[in-house]
Symmetry: C2
Subunit: 117 residues, 2 copies
């Protein structure tokens, strides 16, 4: 388990979630993996303008935290797939709800009123 997560455990469950799923691209990554396993390259294209380095690091963190499973196939050319654990699927639900919230936040015509009170 990563240190930020361990520290968050001392504080509150919400911060645990933030420690695991916070940071750019993680929530989107988990959401994109919800329908099924994807290869690294596919995932990178789906997620958006994320650098390979950053996506790799986020995936490694998610793997360490038990959210995704990384599978390496001994083939040429190399193939690596990522899929969600059960915890990851539960997180994907929340990611999608955050997406719904974001969609409404951006697009709702009543937004100005919504945001001012």
């Amino acid at each position: 388990m990563r240190d930020p997560v361990r520290r968050a455990m001392e504080i509150c469950p919400i911060e645990v979630g933030v420690a695991v799923a916070g940071g750019d691209w993680k929530m989107t990554t988990v959401s994109k993996l919800a329908p099924g396993p994807l290869r690294f390259g596919e995932l990178q294209r789906e997620v958006g303008p994320v650098s390979a380095k950053t996506l790799t690091r986020q995936l490694r963190a998610l793997e360490t935290d038990g959210v995704v499973i990384r599978t390496v196939y001994a083939e040429v050319p190399p193939r690596v797939t990522y899929e969600l654990t059960e915890a990851g699927m539960a997180l994907a639900d929340i990611a999608d709800q955050l997406g719904s919230w974001g969609k409404k936040y951006v697009g709702d015509p009543a937004d100005s009123e919504l945001r001012s009170g």
Copy 2:
């Protein structure tokens, strides 16, 4: 609207949510405000070991993004309260779900199995 949010709008709704609600303490802050308005000091005690500076900045960002409303009372000693907008209340629901996820993530005895697949 803050730049990170504007940038996220070009990408995907989930990243909009992350841009608005990501970062330490923001989700917890929103959750603590769900029952009703709180003063700055009350909020700081409720949220946890967050510095005044950081909490202030997060609250300003949340205010700019239309998630909380900041009210200053012309009194001595000064009194400032924070309360959620409608968008903030919707976000609080998601924060609580993330908290439930984190609680299960931390406490579920089947965690090791859950996290390994």
